[in-house]
C-alpha cells in the first residue's frame, strides 16, 4: 500500500462518523477502527522491505517550485511510530467507545480523533519537511479540538488554548527553522536533507535553524520550560490523554529530533541544548509528579519526565544513546498509555481521580489493579518489565556522558530522576490500590466491562512480553528504527541481564531511594507545600492576559473611531511622504514665465481668500458657511473663465448651486450651529496640520505651474484632431464625449449610483426609527408664513420655460461652444428646482410624472447603446461617427453620434439630481409638510380662498 494512501486513510476515516452519523455509536467506532486497521495493515505489509533496509517512498508533486511536495517515506523510524500511532490508536478507539457517556457527541469525537491520527501519521511518514510542518500544525489544531472536547469545562477550553498557543508557537518557529534548513540543504525532501550533514553543520545558519527547530520540538514534547501545557491538557477525556499525551503527539517532538538526528546532532550546540534540556525536564517532571494528587496530573508530569529522558538520550548524540531513546519510546508508549487508561477506568468507576480520595481499590477492582500495577512497575523500572530495560540503557548512557568536564554530573541527575520515578510509580500503585477500602468514593467502584479494560490489558501484556523477550518482541523494530535514526545499520543487543554494571547500581540506588521517599511521602508533601513554586499556568495566564490587555489597549487607542485622527494621520502622511519624495528628486527650477497679475483678478483672488478665511472663522454658523460656499464657488468659476476654461466655469457654478440647495435641504433637519467641542490645543494642532497641508499643496501647484512638461502632452493630438476626427470645435467637449467618452460613461454611472443610494437610504430612513422621529418633528427655527409667494410663482412661470430653452441650447451647442449634456442637465435641474421652490415639490410632482429612476436608467442605457452601437459597425465600444444632415427647407446641421451619448449624460444628470432632491423633500414631507393644492398660497384672483 502506498505510503500516501496510508497517510490518507485516517482522514478518510475522519469523514465516516459524519457520514454515518445516524447509524449510531458502534458504527462510528467500527468505521474508524476499520480505517485505522487497514492503515496499520498497509504499514505492516512494508515490514519485510524495511527490514531489508529499504525505504519505501511515494512522491506526489504538489508545489514543486516551493519545494513543498507530498512525498512520503516509510523507514524504520516511520514504521515504529506508525505502528505506535495506529496500534495504540486502535486500542483507543475501542476504549473510547466504552468510555464516553451517552451525552457526549461521539461522532464528533471520532472525527477529531481520526483527524489527529491522520496528522500524526502524516508527520511520521512525511518525506518533506514542509509537508511535515503541515501535519505538525494539524496535530496542534486537532489536539486543540480534542482537549476542548468537553466544551462546558472551563479547564478544557483553557487547556486547549494553552496547548494550541504553546505548540503553535513552536510550530511557527519551526517554519522558519525548516525554511532555513531546507535552504542550506538545497532541498526540503528529508531524503536529501539527511545527506547534507556537513553542509548544514558548517553553515552559519546552523545555530538559528537548530534553535528554531528545537523550539518546535521542545514545545510539542513538553520540554522545560514549555512543559506546563501538558498537565493542563489533562482536561481532555482520558482516551485523548492516553493517546495524545502519552503515546503520540508529545512524541512528535522526539520524532523530529530523531528524524533530523543525522543532520543536526553531534555538535556541542546540540549536546548542550538538547541533553541539558532533557535532563532538566526529566528531573523536574519527576520531582513534580511525586506530589501530584490528581492521577492524570501525576501521569502527565511523569510523561514530561520520560520525554525529558528520551530527549536527553537523543541529545547525547551517540548511536547507543539513540538506540536507547528509540527503545524507550516504545516502552513508554506501552506502559504510559496503559496507565492513562487505568486512571481513566478509576475515574470512570470511582468518580474521582484524586489520590487523596482513593485507596483500597485492590479488592474492588482486581483486574484494574493488575493492569495498573504492572504498568506502574514498568514505569518505575522494575525488572523484568520493559521499562527496566530502557531505563537501564539510559543510565548507562548517562554514565558515559560528560557535561562541561564533569564526568558524573549527568549520571547523578539521571539517577535522581529515576529515583523520583520509582517514588511516584510506587505511590500510584500504593495509594490507589492498597490500603483499606473506603466508603466515601463518589461512585461505588467495581471493575468495568471487558470493553474498557481490554485495551490496557493488551498493552500490559506487551509490557511484560517485551520485558521478558526484548529481542524477539521489539528487537527487530528497534533495529530498524535505530538504523533509521542514526543512518547506519544498528543491531543492539537487547537483554534483561547485562551483568553487574554501573547502570545496575544506579538503578538499585534509585529503587531503594524511591521506596524510602515513598515512606517519607507525607513529610515530603509538607516540605513541598512549604516551598513556593511559581505556578506555570498562572504565569502563562498572566502573560496571555497581559498580551491581550496590551492588544486591547493598543487597538482601542489606535482605532478609537476618531475621524479627526484618521484625517490628521492621512494629511501628515501625505505631506511627509510627498515632501520626502520631492526633496529627494531633481527639479530644474522655474522654467515658465509668470503670467502678469491684473488688478481685477487680484480682487477676485482677495475675495476668494477672504471667503476661505471667513469660512474657517464662521463655519459654526452653518447657513453663513453655505453663503460663503456660494462666494467661493462664484470666484472659482470666474477664475476658470479668466484662465480659459469656460466649460469648467459653467459646470462649477451650476454644480455649486445644486450642492448648496442640497445642503440647505439637509440643513433644515440638522442643527443650525456647530457646537464647539474641541479644545484650544486640538484646534491649534488642527490649524497647524491644515496650514502645513495647504502650504504643501500650494507649493506643489506652484512648482507645477512654473515647470514645463517634460514631454509634449497628448492633448496636442486632441487639439489637432478634434474637428477633423471628432467633429466638434469645443475640444473639451469632444474629449468628454469622444476621446475619453468611456470616462464620461463611468462618471454618469457614478451620478446615477449616487442618486440610487440616496433614494435607497431615504426609503430605509422613512421606514425605520427616523421615520417615526420625523413624523413627530418639531422645527427648530421660527417659520414665516407664505410658503409659496405669489411673485416667485409668477416669475417662475416665465423663468422655467426660458431656462429649459437655454438648457436645450447649451445641450445642442455643446459640441462646438461651451456647454454639453452635462451642463444642460444641470441647467434644467436648476430650472426645475426653481419651480419646486416656487410651488412646492408635491404640487409640481403631481403635474410632472417623470420617474427619475427611469431617467437615470434610460440615461445610462442611452449612453451605453450609443457605445454598443459601434459594435454593429465592427468598431470598438463608443466609437463615434458624425455627419452633417440637411433637412429640406433648413440649413444643414451637424449630427454626431456622440450626441446620443451626450443625451445619455443629460438624462442621467437630470435624473440623478432630481432623484436626490426628491428624496430629501420626501423626508421633509414626512416631517409634517402638507401637500398644497394651489400653486401659490395667496391668490387674490380666487375670491373663494381666505
Amino acid at each position: 500500500m502506498s505510503p500516501a494512501l496510508i497517510a490518507a486513510l485516517p482522514f478518510i476515516g475522519a469523514l465516516l462518523p459524519g457520514l454515518l452519523i445516524r447509524s449510531g455509536r458502534n458504527v462510528a467506532a467500527i468505521s474508524c477502527a476499520t480505517a485505522s486497521f487497514i492503515a496499520l495493515l498497509g504499514l505492516c505489509l512494508h515490514i519485510p522491505a524495511i527490514m531489508a533496509g529499504e525505504v519505501v517512498t511515494a512522491r506526489l508533486e504538489w508545489l514543486p517550485s516551493l519545494g513543498l511536495n507530498a512525498n512520503f517515506r516509510i523507514d524504520g523510524l516511520g514504521l515504529l511510530f506508525g505502528i505506535l500511532i495506529l496500534g495504540i490508536g486502535l486500542l483507543i478507539i475501542v476504549y473510547a467507545r466504552h468510555y464516553l457517556s451517552r451525552e457526549d457527541p461521539v461522532g464528533v469525537f471520532y472525527t477529531y480523533l481520526m483527524l489527529f491520527q491522520g496528522a500524526m501519521l502524516g508527520i511520521v511518514l512525511s518525506d518533506n519537511i514542509l509537508l511535515l510542518l503541515i501535519f505538525w500544525e494539524l496535530t496542534s489544531l486537532s489536539s486543540f479540538l480534542l482537549i476542548g472536547y468537553w466544551k462546558h469545562l472551563p479547564e478544557g477550553r483553557q487547556g486547549a488554548r494553552m496547548a494550541l498557543t504553546v505548540t503553535g508557537m513552536g510550530g511557527l518557529a519551526m517554519i522558519a527553522g525548516m525554511l532555513i534548513l531546507g535552504q542550506i540543504a538545497g532541498s526540503y525532501d528529508i531524503g536529501d536533507i539527511l545527506q547534507a550533514r556537513e553542509a548544514v553543520q558548517a553553515s552559519p545558519y546552523y545555530l538559528p535553524a537548530l534553535l528554531l527547530i528545537l523550539l518546535g520540538a521542545f514545545t510539542k514534547s513538553a520540554q522545560f520550560p514549555f512543559h506546563f501545557w501538558l498537565p493542563h491538557a489533562m482536561a481532555a477525556p482520558t482516551p485523548v490523554s492516553a493517546y495524545l499525551h502519552s503515546a503520540t503527539m508529545v512524541k512528535a517532538g522526539l520524532f523530529l529530533m530523531a528524524r533530523l538526528w543525522p543532520v543536526l546532532s553531534g555538535t556541542p550546540e546540540w549536546f548542550y541544548i538538547v541533553a541539558t534540556t532533557g535532563l532538566v525536564t526529566m528531573v523536574l517532571g519527576a520531582w513534580i509528579a511525586m506530589f501530584r494528587d490528581d492521577l492524570k496530573s501525576l501521569l502527565a508530569f511523569s510523561t514530561v519526565s520520560h520525554l525529558g529522558l528520551i530527549t536527553m538520550l537523543l541529545g547525547f548524540g551517540t548511536e547507543a544513546a539513540a538506540v536507547a531513546a528509540v527503545f524507550h519510546i516504545i516502552n513508554h508508549a506501552t506502559f504510559k498509555a496503559a496507565l492513562f487508561m487505568t486512571a481513566g477506568i478509576v475515574d470512570h468507576e470511582a468518580g474521582t481521580r484524586s489520590i487523596a480520595g482513593l485507596g483500597g481499590l485492590r479488592r474492588l477492582m482486581p483486574v484494574t489493579f493488575v493492569i495498573g500495577t504492572v504498568a506502574a512497575l514498568s514505569m518505575a523500572g522494575i525488572p523484568p518489565l520493559n521499562g527496566f530495560l530502557s531505563k537501564e540503557m539510559m543510565l548507562e548512557q548517562a554514565g558515559h556522558a560528560v557535561w562541561q568536564g564533569h564526568p558524573s554530573l549527568i549520571a547523578a541527575f539521571a539517577t535522581a530522576g529515576a529515583l523520583f520515578s520509582v517514588c511516584y510509580s510506587l505511590r500510584f500503585v500504593w495509594q490507589v490500590f492498597f490500603g483499606a477500602p473506603r466508603n466515601d468514593y463518589p461512585h461505588h467502584p467495581h471493575d468495568p466491562g471487558f470493553g474498557l479494560w481490554s485495551a490496557p490489558a493488551v498493552l500490559v501484556v506487551l509490557v511484560v512480553l517485551i520485558g521478558l523477550f526484548p529481542a524477539v518482541m521489539a528487537g527487530w523494530l528497534v533495529d530498524a528504527a535505530a538504523s533509521a535514526v542514526t543512518g547506519t545499520a544498528q543491531h543492539p543487543h537487547l537483554a534483561l541481564w547485562h551483568g553487574v554494571t554501573p547502570a545496575l547500581m544506579m538503578s538499585l540506588t534509585a529503587l531503594v531511594g524511591g521506596v524510602l521517599l515513598l515512606v517519607l511521602n507525607r513529610r515530603m508533601l509538607a516540605i513541598r507545600a512549604a516551598m513556593a513554586w511559581p505556578d506555570a499556568k498562572a504565569i502563562f495566564d498572566a502573560v496571555t492576559r497581559a498580551v491581550t490587555c496590551a492588544a486591547v489597549a493598543l487597538t482601542d487607542r489606535l482605532t478609537n473611531g476618531s475621524m479627526s485622527r484618521a484625517f490628521a494621520a492621512f494629511s501628515l502622511t501625505v505631506m511627509l511622504c510627498g515632501f520626502w519624495a520631492f526633496s529627494t528628486g531633481g527639479w530644474q527650477g522655474a522654467t515658465r514665465p509668470m503670467l502678469p497679475i491684473q488688478p481685477v483678478p487680484l480682487i477676485g483672488w482677495a475675495a476668494l481668500m477672504v471667503a476661505c478665511g471667513c469660512m474657517v472663522a464662521f463655519h459654526r454658523k452653518r447657513i453663513l458657511a453655505l453663503v460663503l460656499v456660494g462666494i467661493i464657488g462664484l470666484m472659482v468659476s470666474v477664475s476658470f473663465i479668466y484662465l480659459s476654461a469656460p466649460d469648467l466655469a459653467l459646470t462649477q457654478i451650476s454644480v455649486e448651486v445644486v450642492t448648496v440647495v442640497l445642503l440647505l435641504l439637509a440643513l433644515n433637519f440638522l442643527p443650525k450651529f456647530t457646537v464647539l467641542d474641541s479644545r484650544d490645543r486640538k484646534r491649534a494642532m488642527d490649524a497647524f496640520i491644515a496650514t502645513l497641508t495647504g502650504l504643501g499643496f500650494g507649493a506643489l501647484a506652484y512648482v507645477i505651474m512654473r515647470s514645463d512638461f517634460a514631454f509634449s502632452p497628448i492633448s496636442q493630438y486632441m487639439l489637432a484632431n478634434s474637428h477633423k476626427l471628432g467633429g466638434g470645435d469645443n475640444v473639451v467637449n469632444v474629449i468628454l464625449v469622444d476621446f475619453r467618452g468611456y470616462d464620461t460613461f463611468g462618471e454618469i454611472t457614478v451620478l446615477g449610483i449616487a442618486a440610487l443610494t440616496i433614494y435607497a437610504l431615504t426609503e430605509t430612513l422613512l421606514a425605520g426609527a427616523s421615520g417615526r422621529r420625523l413624523r413627530n418633528w418639531v422645527h427648530d427655527t421660527a417659520r414665516a408664513g407664505d410658503r409659496h409667494p405669489l411673485m416667485l410663482v409668477v416669475v417662475t412661470r416665465l423663468v422655467l420655460p426660458i431656462a429649459l430653452v437655454v438648457g436645450l441650447y447649451i445641450f445642442l451647442r455643446g459640441h462646438n461652444v461651451p456647454g454639453g449634456g452635462f451642463i444642460a442637465g444641470l441647467v434644467v435641474s436648476v430650472a426645475l428646482v426653481s419651480q419646486y421652490m416656487a410651488s412646492g415639490f408635491a404640487w409640481a410632482q403631481e403635474r410632472q410624472k417623470i420617474n427619475y429612476h427611469a431617467l437615470i436608467g434610460a440615461g445610462v442605457i442611452a449612453a451605453g447603446i450609443t457605445g454598443i452601437g459601434a459594435w454593429f459597425a465592427g468598431q470598438p465600444f463608443l466609437t463615434s461617427t458624425y455627419g452633417y444632415v440637411k433637412l429640406p427647407g433648413l440649413e444643414e446641421f451637424e449630427l454626431a453620434s456622440a450626441m446620443g451619448f451626450d443625451l445619455g449624460v443629460f438624462l442621467c444628470v437630470l435624473g440623478a439630481v432630481m432623484l436626490a432632491l426628491n428624496s430629501l423633500s420626501r423626508i421633509a414631507r414626512q416631517a409634517g409638510g402638507t401637500v398644497n393644492l394651489d400653486p401659490m398660497d395667496i391668490d387674490p384672483s380666487k375670491e373663494a380662498r381666505r
Partner: protein
Amino acid sequence: MSHLIIAPVILPAVIGPLIILWMRNDLMLQRVFSIAGTALLAGVAIYLNALAMGGDVHVYRLGNWAAPFGIVLMLDRLSALMLLLTAVLALAVQLYAVGSGWDRKGRHFHALWQFQLMGICGAFLTGDAFNLFVFFEVLLIASYGLMIHGGGGMRLRAGVQYIAYNLAGSTLFLAALGVLYSVTGTLNMADMALRVAAMPAEDTALLRTGAVLLMLVFAVKAALVPLHFWLPSTYANAPGPVAALFAIMTKVGVYGIIRFFTLVFPQDAVIEGVVADLLLPAALFTLAIGQIGILGTRHLGRLAAFAAIGSIGTLMIAVAQFNPQGTAAAVYYMIHSTLAAGALFLIMDMIGARRGDLWLRLEQVMPGNGLVAALYFIAAIAVAGMPPLSGFIGKLLVMQATRPAPGMVWIWATILITSLIAIYALARAGSIVFWKSYELGPAPVPAPPAATGPKLEPDEPIQDLGDAPANWLAVASVLLLLSGIVALTALAGPALRLAEATAAQLHNPDAYVSSVLEAQEGTK
C-alpha cells in the same frame, strides 16, 4: 480585438439599469437577473483568463482611438485573474445575500451590486490612469450604497466616515494624477511608462512626488498603516455580505500598486527608495496592527476587519519585494486572502444572525452551533495561515520570497509572531462563541427567523417571497468560498505556476507597453 474584453464592464452596466428600469419592485426578478448576470460575468472571466493565458497582452481601444490619446482596456494575466476572483467572490456572496435575506432589507441592493461589479471590473481592466480613477469612484460610490444598505444609526455613521475618508483619498488620487500628467503629459499607463523611463534625472522631483502620492492613494484603498483607520468600523458595520464583497476592494488598492510599480515605475533610478523605504515598513506595521487587532477587539465583525488588515500586511510584504518571486507569492496570497476574508465575514454574519449581536461575551447558546463552528474553524485556519490550507502555503511563499531580502529577520519575525497572536486570538474568540456558551446550558430550539428589514413604501411594494429565505443557500455560499480555498490548496502547484507566469509578465513590462502602443491598426 475581442469585444468580450469590455464585457465585464458592460454586462453589469446594462443589468444594473435594467433592474432599475423594469424590476424595481420585483425582488424575485431582481435576484434572478442579478445572479444570472454575475454568473455570466464569471463565465466571461473564465473566457478572458483562457485568452490571457496565452501570454499576450490584449488591448481594447475604446472609441477606436489610438493608444495614448484614447482610453484602452488592457487584458493581461493579472487583470484576467482579478476579474475571475471578483466574479467568483461576488457570485458566492450574492448567493449568501439572497439566502440570508439581506438583499431585501433595503432598496436597490442588486442594482448597486451590479454597479459595484462594474466599478471593480473596470478598475482591473483599464490601461489608463485617469480612467482608473473614474472606475475607482464607480466602485466606491456603489460601495457606499451597499455599505449603508439596511440603515441603522451606527452603520450610517460608519458610512459617513467611510465616505469622508475615501473622498479624501479620491482627492489625493486626482492630485497624484495631476502631478503625473504635469510631468509626463500623458495618462495612458504604457505611454507613461515609456516617458518615465526616458525622464531626465534633473526632472524627477515631480515625478517622484506623483508616484508616491499615487502609492498613498492605493495604500488608502488597501488600508495600509497609517491609512487604515477607515477600515475597521466600515467593515464591522457593513452588512455581512457587503463586507465579504469588500474583501476584493482592498485588493483593488494592492492591484494598483502592483500595476503601477511594475509597469510605470519599475524600480529604477527615478523611483529608487520609494518602495523599500516606505512600502515595506508600512506593510510590516500593517501586518502587526492587523493581527494585534484580532486579539485586541471585542467584536467579531471588527475581528474579521482586523484580519483583513493583517492579510493586507502579509500581501504587501510580498508585493514590496518587487521581484518575480515576491509578486508570484503576492498573487497567490491575494487569491487566498480574498476568499478567506470573504468567508470569514459571511460566517460572522451567520453568527450575528443566530446570536443577535457579535460581541465577544457570554451569550445564549446559538442554534446551529455545530455547523457554524465548523465553518468558523475552517475559515479561522485559513485566515490565521495555519496548515493545511492555502493561507499556510501563501505564508510559506511569502517567507520564501523574502528570504534574500535585506530585512529578512524582521519580516520573518513579524510574520511568525503575529501569526501566533492571530492563532491565539481566533482560538479565543472561537472558544468564547462556540464553547463557553455551553456553560449556560443546551441550545434553544431554533426560532423562526425574525421579520426581515423594514417595511417599504406602500406605493411601491416589493413582492414578498413568502417564506423565510432559504438558509441552505447561505451555508452553500460559504462552503463555495471555503471549497475555493481548499481547491487553491490542493491545486497549489498549478495555481502557483499561474501566479509565476503572471509575475513574469508583470516584470517584463516591455511587452505590455509595445502591445499597447503598437496596436494602431484601424486608428481614426
